[in-house]
């Protein structure tokens, strides 16, 4: 049974709680959803399901949600995609939505396709832009397309809901607006919690691994570095300015660097204060992962490299000459300053 009429179009953001906290992408999507809702005279629901939440929910409303739908159950501690799909479908049955958005995280990219398959509707992965088409009220979903230097805008004209996943950090975290909303606890049938999958454990990556998405400075290398050993140059530069090391997909595929360092459409999206790209040509997939950085420096020997088109400063030349010189300059500054 539906719990409400369909007069107001609703946008549902399937939020994500991990280790008892709401992931930032949930706020980013609530903010974007509220912009979209304003264009269609609609309202925003945020769905959260978790075993425990260690933080207040007000920021979710302040980010743009009109209503919080939540499921709290001790069986939701470890991620179980089968249960997540059932909860998502049940929530949509009770609270139908025109548009469904989720983070393009390992969870969102797992749960949403299964939901879309069962709902017989379209889903667009890894959107970098969302808007409403004025004439039709349809969701315009923009993403980098087929391996090349192009973007595609995709619509779901007649199937509902219109579904999209969006990479974390694609949209800014909205400035909080003082507002509140409704909170509704979803009481779901027992079947929603039954699953053939048995989650066994979660293990945080050891070593002193820091998520590059959380850093103010990211220094990234591409195939132009020629050899895996040469990433040491980047590490040195990154260390001097308190940054982390990023990598392009080809270098990760060649196993020069591990996957958590990959920046781009199939890796992480970063939005640091300062981004340095060395030996990176600038494929659209990579640009999609870093173009919102505040300040971008590119080093490349090819003056036509795509990376220069989105850089603030470009150094065109041999990175094996330029990087050591840059490192020396940074070292000098640090010695002088301390």
């Amino acid at each position: 049974m539906e719990k409400e009429n369909r007069t107001i179009p609703r946008i549902m953001v399937i939020g994500e709680v991990r280790r008892n906290t709401v992931l930032p992408v949930t706020f980013e999507l609530a903010g974007k959803a509220s912009e979209l809702a304003a264009k269609i005279g609609g309202a925003v629901d945020v769905l959260l399901f978790y075993d425990r939440l260690d933080e207040p929910v007000e920021p979710i409303f302040q980010a743009g949600a009109d209503r919080l739908l939540f499921v709290e159950d001790s069986r939701l501690g470890l991620f179980n995609q089968e249960i997540a799909v059932k909860i998502g479908l049940e929530a949509l049955r009770l609270y139908p939505a025109q548009i469904v958005l989720a983070g393009a995280t390992t969870s969102g990219r797992t749960v949403l396709p299964a939901m879309a398959a069962l709902l017989h509707t379209g889903l667009t992965a890894d959107c970098t832009g969302l808007d409403i088409e004025p004439e039709t009220g349809l969701l315009l979903q923009t993403r980098p397309a087929i391996g090349g230097n192009v973007m595609a805008t995709i619509k779901t004209p007649s199937h509902r809901p219109q579904m999209a996943t969006v990479r974390p950090k694609t949209f800014p975290k909205p400035a909080p607006v003082l507002r509140s909303g409704l909170t509704e606890r979803l009481e779901l049938p027992e079947d929603c919690f039954s699953s053939r999958i048995v989650p066994l454990s979660y293990e945080k990556v050891s070593e002193d691994y820091t998520n590059i998405q959380d850093l103010d400075v990211v220094v990234t290398g591409g195939k132009g570095l020629k050899k895996p050993e040469n990433f040491a140059l980047l590490e040195k530069a990154a260390h001097l300015i308190g940054g982390g090391v990023g990598a392009t997909r080809p270098t990760v595929e060649a196993k020069w660097v591990s996957y958590p360092h990959q920046i781009g459409l199939s890796g992480k999206v970063v939005s640091p204060k300062f981004y340095l790209a060395a030996g990176v040509s600038g494929a659209v997939q990579h640009l999609a992962g870093m173009q919102t950085a505040e300040f971008i420096v590119a080093i490349n020997k090819d003056p036509e490299a795509g990376i220069f088109k989105i850089a603030d400063i470009g150094l065109c030349g041999d990175l094996f000459e330029i990087l050591p010189e840059l490192i020396a300059a940074l070292e000098k500054e640090r010695e002088g300053g301390e």
């Binding site: 470890l78 990219r109 087929i146 999958i197 990556v205 996957y259």
Partner: protein, 261 residues
């Protein structure tokens, strides 16, 4: 055991161009390869069969030239290969692709284990695997970087943003795999000969109980409404040759202004 692997033939370069009018890929003059992550899936399937016995079947939907990739999969150790091809499948989005693949798997199955790459290098959606599993009504896992057989199922390690998750899935199930799963071996000469000589099965739309309205572009819930080149967003101050040192000083100044240095 019966194992199925879903594979996709992809361009062997990132430099594919789009026809801006039609919104389709310009394929002329571009070589093709098996999607790299699907090679991982084939190798994982091969190792399973080596230990447990059984058959490894590969499936691919695409234009007729996809046959080459299927023969390569046989050279790598697959026992049977099915080419799913029909003009009516053209322009399928992930939903319409999964619709066809799931029907073919039902028709040729059942399979204990279905494997696929986590995503293809061309579309990069990663959606078809989970969509197929949902349509088949079987449990699935994604981002799998380790698989161990355990009783009547598998224990998998999923690589997620900040670590690893371990899950048990009973057979039948579907897994999409990452590139650190194993090291696919190059086909041997005898493998290549086997691949060359193999008889492939071909499945077309008329072999499947799918209404025409659910096939290809017509059956795709999504539509590409526009393709465009992203606009240049920044004005780049370029430094080259003897100016490089000036550029470095400019960077140092910027870092100081931003309180990073």
């Amino acid at each position: 055991m019966r194992i199925a692997v879903l594979l996709k033939q992809v361009p062997d370069t990132d430099e594919v161009k789009l026809d801006e009018e039609k919104g389709t890929m310009i394929r002329e003059g571009i070589g093709t390869v098996i999607n790299p992550l699907d090679l991982q899936a084939i190798e994982a399937g091969r190792q399973f069969i080596e230990q447990e016995g059984g058959t490894l079947s590969v499936f691919s939907m695409g234009p007729p030239q996809t046959e080459e990739s299927l023969r390569e999969a046989i050279a790598m150790g697959a026992h049977t290969a099915t080419l799913i091809t029909d003009r009516k499948f053209g322009g399928a989005d992930t939903w319409a692709t999964a619709r066809v693949l799931s029907e073919v798997l039902k028709r040729n199955g059942p399979y204990d284990l279905i494997l696929a790459g986590e995503k293809a290098t061309d579309g990069e959606t990663g959606q078809v695997g989970p969509e197929v599993a949902a349509m088949l009504g079987i449990p699935f896992s994604t981002y799998v970087s380790e698989i161990d057989k355990k009783n009547d199922g598998v224990i998998v390690k999923r690589t997620v943003e900040d670590g690893y998750e371990t899950q048990f899935l009973p057979f039948p199930c579907l897994l999409t795999v990452l590139n650190n799963l194993n090291q696919p071996e190059m086909p041997t000469l005898s493998g290549k000969i086997r691949g060359h000589a193999a008889k492939l099965e071909t499945v077309t739309a008329s072999d499947l109980p799918i209404p025409e309205g659910e096939l290809g572009l017509t059956g795709s819930p999504t539509r590409v409404s526009k393709v465009f080149y992203p606009k240049i967003q920044r004005k780049c101050e370029m430094y080259a040759l003897s100016d490089i040192r000036k550029g470095i000083q400019r960077i140092v100044r910027e870092l100081k202004n931003r309180a990073i240095l």
